[in-house]
């Protein structure tokens, strides 16, 4: 990772004042201990300590912090080299660290620069949902948002292409039709069929789809199964809409029989709903063949369209109380103004509102209907740059607080990935959001709101990279148990776990070593645990079990593996990046990355990697990565516990640089759990990146340090992390750009 590369250059006066301790306690010590290899001639590992020591004291912060970290971890000086025994090196390092802490405390607030942020797909979908009160899964077909700094909400990276612009326009039309139904639309009934095979839910006893119902009206759901069961076999087929059973039938099988189940006509409001089907072979009479499986879910409708004025969407929007066709002219303004205010996350200006109303009136005149006029207005709002981009304006050129409206938007996109609700906008309007007590209350309220689910899913999936589950395909021959449902179960475990830490305001150190998790029968069986039955997830205590914390979640273990085998290197790198906040540098150019995907059957993976580490260049990084991965070797490439790998017994022992040893995963985790400060800082950096939508730089270090300190002082509570971020300088302030 290349962030924080810029050095902080202090004015001359500041560093000459430090000359004393630096010159007496750091320069000579590091010259003795390090410059033997890290000099101008050898520059081992790309580091020249001699040069560093002749610069203004501590000018190159990146390098200095790396020195502090590596000396503290015992990685340097390396084994076999001379290590001063009198504690002078430790004292020098401590001085350096404390000096940076002191500078951070004294630093002038510097919030950095945030680029205007285009809404990403998730933010767009949620914003539309919360703007109109209908979930249309809008934006699902938008191009995938690019990642920067590990996240997909980075303003600098998010761009707009013609393809996306076309989709904005088309999607706005679709949304306007669904949100403002008119009786003259007469939507034609259509049949949508979701094939199990196409959804990656092949050969399942349960199917599940999210379907966007295009208009409010009556629909019929249907599902059917494959498999010629033996005569007389009884099955139960059930259909669910939004978790509620809407049809159920017990059938005795005969060859000519209809193999499907239709629901009665159901009145369904427009928008996204979850449709599920389930088949169960009843125990009597016994059936021994291969199990049946569901073939598809089909949705037909709308056959009876709900009159526009009776739909929830219409009633929500048309607040002036007239019947369709009988609206007063003033209605348009009454409807449009609050809509634009929510969408733009601030009150629209007079001319913005006039423009919108002009459009509405023109369309109304043309079509003879206010509803159709408002559809045009709504479309214009949805493609307005004021909606699609989060723009912040600089009230003054220097460093300044952002406005309350801007703060409301930053809060809501951080915690909800959506636009601010009425309560936030109301507080912003009254200028009260800047009040610390009010802000704290709002953060607590927002975290408790179900909308904070967005933070759980989006942040967890990206921080722990469990999002990649959806694109990984473990080799089906080696891991036949891995299928779409297990993939979902894995993700669910990690999300529910994160959510528990958020909702119960637990210590973030639980991520490393919590003695509980969330499992259903399938995943429990995958883990070799008894006593968990049924498809629903529940909290399970993990005493005496070989699992604790996210490192032993199947999701994390799978995303850090190859499709055919585990990779101690990838897992080690994963731990360094996500747990120890010490990402290894990328491999040197044109040296092929270590490939452990090709382990022969004659030597174990471990032996191969150890040979590779005999090379000193490789060893400097792999000496850190590989042992961490070895400690997790008891978990296979889909996270199952094992004691053998092929014909080799698993050896999960290891020694970290600095001499810390472990014999099994639990001991490794113990060692990791002691790295509280590194973990806390790493998590603070990642979450701050996510909250700001930009990469961090050297100037953000004081803020990160302050957040991490605060978290530590508050028992590592999750809420302290969120509050620390929300109250930080970069979250609440902007550096004005000269115009």
């Amino acid at each position: 990772m290349n962030r924080m590369r810029n050095a902080i250059l202090l004015p001359l006066a500041a560093w000459t004042a430090l000359a004393g301790p630096f010159e007496s306690g750091v320069q000579p010590v590091l010259t003795r201990a390090c410059a033997g290899c890290h000099n101008a001639k050898l520059s081992s590992g790309g580091l020249n300590v001699e040069a560093l020591l002749t610069q203004p004291a501590l000018a190159d912060r990146d390098r200095w912090e790396s020195i502090v970290r590596r000396v503290r971890a015992g990685e340097m000086p390396p084994k076999g080299a001379h290590r001063p025994q009198n504690g002078e090196l430790e004292r020098a390092i401590t001085w350096v660290d404390e000096e940076y802490a002191r500078r951070d405390r004294a630093a002038k607030p510097d919030p950095g620069l945030v680029t205007v942020r285009r809404l990403n797909r998730l933010e767009y979908a949620n914003s539309v949902r919360d703007l109109l009160g209908i979930d249309l899964m809008a934006g699902e077909d938008f191009p995938v948002d690019p990642y920067g700094y590990g996240f997909d909400n980075i303003g600098d990276v998010l761009s707009v292409s013609p393809v996306l612009t076309e989709k904005y326009l088309k999607t706005a039309e679709r949304i306007a039709r669904a949100a403002i139904p008119v009786d003259s639309d007469k939507p034609k009934p259509a049949m949508d069929r979701y094939l199990a095979e196409r959804m990656g839910q092949d050969r399942m006893l349960r199917l599940s789809v999210h379907h966007v119902f295009p208009a409010s009206g009556e629909y019929v759901l249907r599902s059917a199964w494959y498999q010629a069961l033996r005569n007389g076999t009884r099955v139960r087929l059930r259909l669910f809409l939004d978790g509620r059973e809407v049809a159920s039938r017990i059938l005795s099988f005969y060859y000519e029989m209809d193999r499907g189940l239709d629901s009665p006509p159901l009145t369904v409001p427009a928008g996204r709903h979850k449709v599920e089907a389930e088949i169960e072979v009843l125990p009597e009479p016994a059936y021994k063949g291969s199990p049946p499986y569901l073939e598809y879910i089909q949705i037909y409708g709308p056959s009876q369209v709900t009159p526009a004025a009776r739909t929830a969407a219409y009633q929500r929007l048309f607040t002036c109380g007239h019947a369709p066709g009988a609206h007063a002219r003033s209605c348009a303004r009454r409807i449009l103004e609050p809509l634009a205010r929510r969408a733009y996350r601030r009150p629209p200006s007079g001319s913005e509102l006039d423009d919108l109303l002009g459009l509405v009136h023109a369309a109304q005149t043309r079509s003879g209907s206010l509803e159709l006029g408002l559809r045009a207005g709504l479309q214009a709002i949805l493609v307005s740059p004021n909606f699609l981009f989060r723009v912040e304006r600089d009230a003054s050129p220097g460093t300044h607080r952002i406005t309350d409206y801007e703060l409301a938007a930053r809060l809501s996109y951080f915690l909800w990935s959506s636009l601010p609700d009425e309560e936030l906008l109301g507080l912003a309007e009254k200028g009260r959001l800047g009040n610390p007590a009010v802000l704290r209350g709002q953060v607590a309220r927002m975290l408790a709101d179900p909308k904070s689910r967005a933070l759980v899913e989006s942040f967890t999936g990206q921080w722990l990279q469990t999002r990649n589950l959806s694109v990984l395909t473990p080799d089906a021959r080696l891991f036949p148990e891995f299928d779409a449902l297990l993939r979902e179960d894995m993700r669910t475990e990690t999300e529910m776990f994160f959510e528990a830490i958020l909702k119960e305001d637990r210590s973030i150190l639980d991520f490393l070593d919590a003695r509980f998790t969330f499992l259903n029968e399938r995943l429990a069986r995958h883990y070799g645990l008894e006593g968990v039955t049924g498809p629903h997830f529940r909290r399970v205590e993990l005493d005496g079990v070989q699992r604790s914390g996210v490192l032993t979640h199947a999701s994390v273990l799978t995303v850090s593996s190859y499709p055919t085998r585990t990779s101690p290197v990838i897992r080690g790198k994963w731990v360094l990046e996500n747990i120890l906040n010490a990402p290894p540098p990328p491999p040197p150019p044109n040296v092929p990355e270590l490939n452990d995907g090709a382990v022969g059957v004659s030597v174990s993976l471990r032996q191969q990697l150890e040979q590779h580490r005999a090379n000193a260049v490789c060893a400097s990084c792999h000496g850190r990565m590989d042992p961490l991965g070895f400690g997790l070797e008891n978990y296979d490439a889909v996270g199952k516990w094992r004691t053998m790998d092929g014909k080799f017994a698993i050896d999960a022992s290891g020694e970290l640089p600095g001499g810390k040893k472990f014999a099994k995963p639990a001991e490794l985790k113990q060692i990791l759990a002691e790295q509280k400060d590194a973990f806390t800082r790493g998590l603070a950096e990642k979450m701050l990146t996510y909250a700001l939508g930009r990469g961090l730089e050297a100037r953000d270090r004081p803020a990160v340090r302050r957040i991490a300190t605060r978290v530590a002082e508050n028992g590592h509570r999750f809420s302290a992390l969120i509050r620390g971020i929300v109250e930080s300088v970069p979250f609440q302030m902007r550096s004005g750009v000269s115009q």
């Binding site: 990772m1 290349n2 680029t115 205007v116 285009r118 995938v144 690019p146 920067g148 700094y149 997909d152 990276v157 761009s159 707009v160 292409s161 996306l164 612009t165 076309e166 326009l169 088309k170 706005a172 039309e173 049949m191 069929r193 094939l195 196409r198 423009d355 919108l356 043309r366 079509s367 479309q379 214009a380 493609v383 307005s384 740059p385 004021n386 699609l388 981009f389 723009v391 999936g461 990206q462 990279q465 999002r467 990649n468 694109v471 089906a476 080696l478 190859y562 055919t564 990328p586 491999p587 040197p588 150019p589 044109n590 092929p592 990355e593 490939n595 995907g597 090709a598 930009r694 750009v737």
Partner: protein, 436 residues
């Protein structure tokens, strides 16, 4: 996901469409032809990008004499010998580190069609160069509904960094130095873009666009330069869409019997062929003349169980000359070329004016790395199919001087396609000997 229609339906439909006179009959309906191309038969330009290198000893023919033997990876193209030229010895110097350290794959992708050296960043200040397809789009694409299409079978859904660079550098198409174009992966979305309603039936579309353009201009005032650039991207895109709507009246009718594909096939073979079908359709209907198609991501982790490789592509490419890994890479290489051979066949069968679509196209098939094991940015596997209306002499294997920039090929192709440019990345001039 929508109702299921198998790919067969589309193919069957196309089979019926190909050879029917409707395509020719349609041509006069189009507007003035682009400069340098005759109205009847425009020249099409396409790049098919096969990522992450090749096993070069199975790619490069031994001889440059006529009747040279087709090596293993190219075997499936042998029956098209007289429609292709194999170009050996080209290099992408700007894909090399040049002091930037790790990230060969990210650089390989972004430098391939731009000839430029990408700026190393994880996010702030992305910068590379304008790619050759986008230069073509500006001129020969100016009169079609879509200046260009960008297709892929694998998008960057992968969380995390992309090879030490921002994932934006996974794109090969760059509209400007700062604007990479993300390719579309869903065949259905491509189809709807090509043949769905362009919005001409929305009576308010025009006024909504006008208002939005005004709003965006207004919003730009008082913002810093980076913010303005972001809003400018939106402005440019809006204007492009506006132009397209104006041209909607001239839009292509869908050939009869062709139906929309459904979502994304799980089989790579099916997916790639469906994309090739769509590319053929787009050319046939003159919806566009410029296409880039990435078979997969550079340095990607896709597995190819269909080709007998359940391992991730990138991990087997660091083969260290171990025979079993080399074999796996070779299998993937062959598999990719087989899909391309299907496309060549398809273009050849599609009647276009006096000849076939293939006759009137320039289609590059190539990879931005030679031997992937060492991230070789020289000696790139490259071939050209189609003669661009008889301008290229096919049936040859040409060996160029080492380190000849691949950008020279781009410059030559742009010239042949009727979109000459002065400069492109590190090109030193148009590649010689294409005409024989």
């Amino acid at each position: 996901m929508m109702k299921f229609l198998p790919r067969r339906t589309l193919l069957r439909g196309m089979g019926a469409a190909v050879g029917l006179p409707f395509l020719d009959a349609m041509v006069p309906a189009f507007a003035a032809p682009a400069a340098g191309a005759s109205a009847k038969t425009p020249c099409r330009l396409m790049v098919v990008y096969a990522p992450t290198g090749k096993i070069m000893q199975y790619w490069t023919p031994q001889s440059t004499e006529p009747g040279f033997e087709f090596p293993r990876i190219l075997k499936s193209l042998e029956s098209h010998r007289d429609d292709i030229v194999i170009l050996s010895g080209l290099a992408a110097n700007n894909g090399r580190a040049l002091g930037d350290g790790a990230g060969d794959h990210a650089r390989a992708a972004s430098s391939y069609l731009t000839g430029a050296h990408p700026r190393k960043t994880e996010g702030a200040d992305i910068r590379c160069g304008v790619s050759m397809d986008q230069l073509a789009a500006r001129s020969i694409g100016a009169n079609t509904r879509f200046p260009s299409l960008e297709l892929t079978c694998e998008d960057s859904r992968q969380a995390g960094a992309c090879d030490s660079y921002s994932c934006a550098y996974q794109s090969i198409a760059w509209k400007s130095e700062t604007q990479p174009l993300a390719p579309e992966m869903n065949p259905r979305a491509v189809f709807e873009r090509l043949f769905g309603d362009a919005g001409a039936d929305n009576p308010d579309r025009r006024s909504i666009l006008d208002l939005t353009l005004r709003d965006t201009e207004r919003l730009k005032n008082g913002l810093g330069p980076v913010d303005r650039r972001k809003l400018d991207e939106y402005l440019t895109s809006l204007r492009e869409v506006e132009t397209r709507i104006e041209r909607a009246g001239r839009s292509a009718k869908l050939p009869e019997g062709v139906e929309s594909p459904t979502g994304i096939p799980t089989s790579f073979r099916e997916h790639a062929r469906l994309m090739f079908d769509l590319a053929t359709l787009a050319f046939q209907t003159d919806s566009t003349r410029v296409i880039t198609f990435m078979l997969a991501r550079e340095g990607g982790l896709r597995t190819y169980p269909e080709a007998g490789v359940p391992e991730a592509h990138h991990s087997v490419t660091h083969h260290r000359n171990q025979p079993e890994l080399v074999e796996k890479v070779a299998k993937i290489n062959c598999f990719h070329v087989e899909q391309f051979a299907y496309f060549v066949e398809k273009l050849k069968a599609a009647k276009d004016g006096e000849g076939s679509l293939l006759d009137h196209s320039l289609v590059v098939y190539g990879s931005p790395l030679g031997d992937p094991n060492v991230h070789d940015h020289g000696n790139l596997p490259t071939l050209l199919a189609g003669t661009g209306k008889g301008k290229v002499k096919p049936g040859r294997h040409v060996r160029y001087k080492a380190e000849t920039p691949v950008a020279n090929l781009h410059v030559a192709l742009l010239r042949l396609a009727g979109a000459p440019v002065e400069r492109l990345g590190d090109a030193t001039g148009p590649l010689e000997q294409l005409g024989g």
